[in-house]
Symmetry: C2
């Protein structure tokens, strides 16, 4: 099938005014976004195992669109840090994105164990008086000390997330001697308390990283981070772990199942 650009929709018909030209450009941007979304999905599914995307002409034919639209779609993915253009080779995958499950409460090392080793650079462990919103959520008296831990988490040496964690002091103190560099806090919580974790309330947001967070994550300035706030409870209902996690948007996605009826 020729690249008839059938993804095109409410397009102008060869009008030559500036307005029509602007409309056509807007439409190409719409088509590029459409294609970029389909290719982003393929990247997440690791659908290009040799690390190279098909040639632009092939993509144009496969997606029944123009080469210009393909170029613009690849530009979008390049701006997201997922692919790069390599002279003589074409468009190559530069960032592998991993899916973190939304169906079960799991730590990062647990989730990614098939993909490699998670290590944690512990930037801070310090008792701090609990600010009111922390005290309330962890159900400790306002101003009572809690343990604050800050970790930069890596998979096979590559930064994935910056985690800010608040723990009640009794549990936190017991964690201090543990191997925080190589172990999920979830696992340590279960071993220190002798109880399984129960549930967590989570909130996910997309936030543009400030300059300092981007630098710590070794990401470009202005990078998008997937912010996870998670309040984790033991199986007996006690809240024991309040976390604010900044995942690099180019490296982590969250996947799960939703049901219509509860």
């Amino acid at each position: 099938m020729p690249p008839t650009d059938r993804i095109r929709d409410h397009a102008g018909q060869g009008a030559t005014t500036v307005a029509a030209h602007r409309t056509r450009r807007r439409l190409r941007a719409d088509r590029a976004r459409q294609l970029a979304d389909l290719l982003r999905r393929q990247l997440l599914d690791d659908a290009f195992p040799d690390g190279t995307l098909p040639h632009e002409d092939t993509l144009a034919a496969d997606y029944d669109t123009t080469r210009n639209t393909v170029r613009q779609a690849l530009d979008l993915l390049r701006a997201e840090g997922l692919v790069a253009r390599q002279p003589g080779i074409g468009t190559v995958v530069v960032a592998r994105k991993y899916a973190h499950g939304l169906d079960r409460l799991m730590g990062l090392a647990e989730t990614l164990h098939e993909h490699g080793r998670v290590t944690n650079e512990v930037r801070t462990t310090v008792p701090v008086p609990a600010p009111a919103p922390v005290a309330e959520r962890l159900r400790v008296p306002p101003g009572a000390d809690v343990l604050y831990i800050e970790r930069l988490r890596r998979l096979n040496g590559v930064p994935l997330s910056l985690d800010l964690t608040y723990l009640p002091l009794d549990i936190g103190t017991a964690l201090l001697g543990a191997d925080l560099e190589n172990t999920d806090v979830f696992r340590l919580l279960e071993s220190v308390t002798g109880r399984p974790l129960g549930h967590a309330e989570i909130t996910l947001e997309a936030v543009t990283a400030d300059a300092h967070s981007a630098a710590v994550l070794e990401a470009p300035r202005g990078t998008a981070v997937l912010m996870l706030e998670r309040l984790t409870h033991l199986a007996d209902g006690r809240p024991v772990d309040l976390e604010f996690v900044r995942f690099r948007g180019d490296r982590i996605a969250m996947s799960g199942l939703l049901h219509r009826s509860l």
Copy 2:
């Protein structure tokens, strides 16, 4: 309690070298991020009902930190488009962020009905030959026509999301006469097929908006979007709706519960 800056942790002790100065600055950035995360949470909980944040001195006392750290934290939230500084008044809330549930499959109008009216600007409805990844997921033959719909969705007139939707043609055609401007596709799917929806596979990502998407969403260039890919099935298992949704990161968060055991 005086602002003793106890959130401070591995701080230098008055050293005067450039390195120590740099360390101190890095630490203030760390503390500002910590505080910004707590305030962002308060904003999401609508904890400032009069739309004004406490004075910087009050925040410094409440969070046991310095006024400089408070200022830097507020700068972060300003950069995220959540607050603004208003002369003579202080720091005011400028964007209300709404929580979209992760616990049950719901349309946007259903989710946000207490907050106001969702309207949809239908930018495109057009049959397109299904690209391979769409055909595969909707289980139609590759190249068979599917209905493509593009909508800009608003709450009380304010842009929330840009939605790209693919539907099998039989179902899509039945939707064409429906009131897409005022009705969730989910509701229309259930009424057109006479069947309830079942489940959806979702993936959430944080992506920096390209210039064109940001313009459509009336958001600042470089804004972070919460990307949702959602493949929705009828209760009988048939996949009927593949969507790529860009939520404005400053206006939508996703919230839910995760459990440790399945």
